[in-house]
Structure formats: structure tokens, C-alpha cells
């Protein structure tokens, strides 16, 4: 890795990361049944060769449950982050281009949302929408866009003043042309970095809301559910119930975070030619 340049390292990192995530998702698909099957003959087994993550008090395979839970989280994260990033892009551009009133309203909403703790608002939205997958997904999606929206708004504001855009207008170019040729190429890197960095947030918040009982329902093997249920058994020494799912969650979050950081590094002028 030492002799590779930044872009090559990032590329390799992204491929490896994507492969791991894909493997988890595919694994999760196949484990749907195994994650639910209970078998009292293999209750409370510590990690062994057959069950590397052990089994729980109902004899369910923890590896299958973890894979299933993580893939559920990734799915939800992708959905929530994508929706969030799109909201950010639209509102950011709208604030910067639709005049002073629109800007004032959107900026006010951004400030308002940033002022309320994420988790509180998330719980409110989730409960209002009847909890479950939809509740959490919308909750996360609707709470995570403000900081990115603010970034995009500032970027567009600055772009609007740049001489080359002013010149393009005097050359008779349409708004659509200016947006497509001049603004998008500048916003895309920002947008992508923001999108990737939203994943870990979305996943963590999903897990915590679920852990607190305001998210996914308890039949679903979500990471939050697994962790909150395992709390009861931790005191009796069944460490594996919490350790492996928790570690898996942290790993996925770190993976996404590293990917986002790398994408940022590629577009940051301070490191773009490393």
C-alpha cells in the first residue's frame, strides 16, 4: 500500500469496503429463516465452531441474527441517507436561488432542526408514523439533512457570485445550462461525501432508537433489538449476546466513515494531489 498513491489507496479501500458490505447484505438475505428458528436443544451456547457467535436463550443462531440485523440496518441507512441527502440538495439549492424569503424560511428550519437533539426529533417522528421500519426510516431521513443543506446552500451562494457564472448569464445561457454545466460539477463531490458520511449516522441512530424501544418492532432481528434484549442476559455472563452484534455494528459504521473521509480527501484541495 505504501507505494500506491492516494487515489489508488482510496479505490482499493472502497472496493474492499463495498465487498464486505455486500457480503453482509447477501448473507443477511440467506439468514432470514435461520435468524428466526429457535431450537431449545442448543440454548445459550457460547461461541463454538458450529455457532461462531453463539446462540441465545431461545436457541437462535447469533451469527444469523447479527447478519440479518446488520443488513437491515444497512438497508435502512441507505434509504435514509439517500432521502436525507436529496432533501439537503433540493433545499440547499432552493435557499440559495429562490430569493430572500425562501432563504429565510429554509435557514430558519435548518437552525430549528439543528437546535433540537437529533434523537428526540427522531423518536417523535418515528412514533408519529407508527414505529416499525417506515417510522424509523422516515425519522432518520427527515432529521439528518440540515447540516448538509447548509453546506450546499453556502456553496451555491458562492458559486452564484463567481465571475464565470455571471459571464455565462450574459452570454445568454439558461438557468438550466448554468445549473448543469457550472453548479452540478462543483456540488457533486460535496454531495457524495455528505451522502456517504450520513450512512454511519443513520445506522447508529436507527440502532439507538430501536434500542430505546421507539423503533423497529421486536419480531425483527434489528441490531437495536438484539442489543436491548441481550442486556437482560449480560449479568448472567452471556457476553457473546452483546459483544458480537455490537462489534459488527461498530465495524460497519467505521467502514462507512472511512469511505466518506476518503472521498472527502480526494476532493479536498489540501490533499487532492497526494
Amino acid at each position: 500500500m505504501r507505494d500506491k498513491n492516494l487515489r489508488q489507496r482510496v479505490l482499493i479501500g472502497l472496493i474492499v469496503g463495498a465487498a464486505i458490505l455486500l457480503a453482509i447484505c447477501v448473507g443477511g438475505l440467506f439468514c432470514a429463516e435461520a435468524a428466526k428458528t429457535s431450537d431449545f436443544t442448543r440454548k445459550n451456547l457460547p461461541p463454538c465452531l458450529t455457532y461462531p457467535f453463539g446462540t441465545d436463550w431461545l436457541g437462535r443462531d447469533m451469527l444469523a441474527r447479527t447478519l440479518r440485523g446488520i443488513s437491515l440496518s444497512i438497508l435502512l441507512g441507505i434509504f435514509a441517507a439517500a432521502v436525507s441527502a436529496c432533501i439537503a440538495l433540493l433545499l440547499g439549492i432552493a435557499a440559495a436561488t429562490l430569493g430572500r424569503t425562501a432563504d429565510a424560511v429554509i435557514t430558519f428550519v435548518i437552525d430549528l432542526l439543528l437546535g433540537i437533539p437529533h434523537i428526540l426529533l427522531l423518536i417523535l417522528i418515528s412514533v408519529a408514523l407508527g414505529k416499525g421500519f417506515a417510522g424509523v426510516a422516515w425519522g432518520v431521513a427527515l432529521t439528518h439533512w440540515p447540516s448538509l443543506a447548509r453546506l450546499i446552500r453556502a456553496e451555491v451562494m458562492q458559486l452564484k457570485e463567481s465571475p464565470y457564472i455571471q459571464i455565462a448569464r450574459k452570454l445568454g445561457k439558461t438557468n438550466w445550462y448554468v445549473a448543469r454545466k457550472h453548479m452540478l460539477p462543483h456540488l457533486l463531490p460535496q454531495f457524495l461525501t455528505g451522502l456517504v458520511l450520513l450512512f454511519p449516522h443513520a445506522i447508529l441512530h436507527e440502532a439507538s432508537v430501536t434500542f430505546l424501544g421507539f423503533g423497529l418492532s421486536s419480531e425483527q432481528p434489528a441490531i437495536g433489538i438484539i442489543l436491548s434484549e441481550s442486556m437482560k442476559y449480560l449479568v448472567t455472563g452471556k457476553w457473546w449476546l452483546a459483544l458480537f452484534p455490537g462489534a459488527a455494528l461498530v465495524m460497519v459504521v467505521v467502514l462507512f466513515y472511512a469511505a466518506g473521509e476518503n472521498v472527502r480527501k480526494l476532493t479536498d484541495p489540501a490533499s487532492v494531489h497526494e
Binding site: Y164, K170, L171, K181, P185
Partner: protein
């Protein structure tokens, strides 16, 4: 065609100082007018007003009797900026930069010494002088009637300055394009302009 400025005044919102007050000028499309004033006397602001980047607080700027600000689409008055590096999008190839102009003739590119190989480059891969040639070509589209040159050769070497201005003089004479030139270089203005206007007298 005739370009007229009637009693134009302008001041920036935040500052209380008037940049321009009741400035008038009338010029035809065979004229080349040099603007002289010390820095801080609003030469660039005046260019931006005439080219329609800014609107005057009072007074009017007319092109053949029609307000410049009423032109939608291509503006017949084009301005060339002092720093070509800021006037082109760093993420567009030069081919696309030229396409932004109004059907710029290949003849112009050739006369400006723009080489074919430059068209595939990004702005960061060209020197200031080369970029300024592109900006010039882009502003010399079919419908351009007046050209504002705001210190266009200040940051260039003397040979490039001479190349650019010699080309420009030939081109505007041939196409009857009027020119307003801003430069701190008195000798240059004397060489390229038909008359000169002092801006600091216009402000009391």
C-alpha cells in the same frame, strides 16, 4: 450602433461613498474609448454597469435607445475581465468554454493563436495569457456589438499584450465593434484608443 450613458449614478449598498455620480458618455461603434482614473474611482464598476452585471441607482444605459438591462439572452455588450483565471470554470474543458460564446468563428481562434491541442485542456493547464485569449474569443461571438476591456492585459507579459491588442484592433475595425478600454498604462491607451475620458472629473 450607439451606446449612451445618461446621468448614471451608483453606490455599493454597504458603503456610503458614491462610486459614480451623474456620469454621461455617448459613443459610436467605430470608437474606442479609453477610461482613465486612479484606482478606487470605479472603473471596473462602470464596466460592470455598462455590461449589465449591475444596475445603476439612477440614470440609464441605452444601446440604440433601448435599455441594456432589458436585453434577455445574449447581451450585445460583452465584458472581458482582468483575471482570466476567474472568468472560466476550472472544471470545464476549453472546448466547452468556447462553445459558451455565440458561434465563435474558427477564424478568430486561429488569429488569436489558440492551438488545437489547448481545446482539450482544463483551465489550470493553461497560462494566464492563453486563458485570456480564450476569454477574448468567447466574448467575440456573432452578436457582440460593444466590448469592454477591463485591464485585460495587466497580468500578461508585454508580448502577449501586444499580440492580443493588435488582433483586437483589427477585429473590431473590421466588424464595427465599439471598445471601451480600461488600463493604467497611458502609453497603451494612446496606442489603441480613438479618444480618452477621465473618470475622476466626472465625480465631484
Amino acid at each position: 450602433m450607439k451606446l449612451e450613458l445618461n446621468q448614471v449614478s451608483y453606490q455599493y449598498k454597504k458603503e456610503n461613498k458614491k462610486i459614480l455620480e451623474n456620469f454621461s458618455l455617448s459613443m459610436g461603434d467605430t470608437e474606442r474609448v479609453g477610461l482613465i482614473a486612479p484606482s478606487g474611482y470605479g472603473k471596473t464598476t462602470l464596466c460592470k454597469l455598462i455590461a449589465g452585471y449591475l444596475t445603476p441607482d439612477s440614470g440609464e444605459i441605452l444601446l440604440d435607445g433601448r435599455r441594456v438591462s432589458s436585453y434577455k439572452g445574449y447581451c450585445p455588450i460583452q465584458m472581458i475581465w482582468q483575471q482570466p483565471e476567474l472568468a472560466v470554470n476550472p472544471r470545464l474543458r476549453m472546448r466547452e468554454v468556447i462553445l459558451e460564446g455565440d458561434e465563435v468563428e474558427p477564424r478568430i481562434l486561429e488569429a488569436l493563436g489558440i492551438e488545437k491541442a489547448w481545446m482539450d485542456r482544463f483551465p489550470t493547464e493553461l497560462s494566464g495569457g492563453e486563458l485570456q485569449r480564450f476569454c477574448l474569443a468567447r466574448a467575440l461571438g456573432k452578436r457582440t456589438r460593444f466590448l469592454l476591456a477591463d485591464e485585460i492585459s495587466t497580468m500578461l507579459d508585454l508580448i502577449t499584450q501586444s499580440q492580443i491588442w493588435n488582433f483586437l484592433l483589427k477585429e473590431v475595425k473590421q466588424r464595427q465593434i465599439g471598445v471601451i478600454a480600461v488600463s493604467h498604462n497611458q502609453a497603451l491607451l494612446e496606442k489603441v484608443c480613438t479618444r480618452q475620458v477621465r473618470l475622476d472629473y466626472a465625480i465631484k
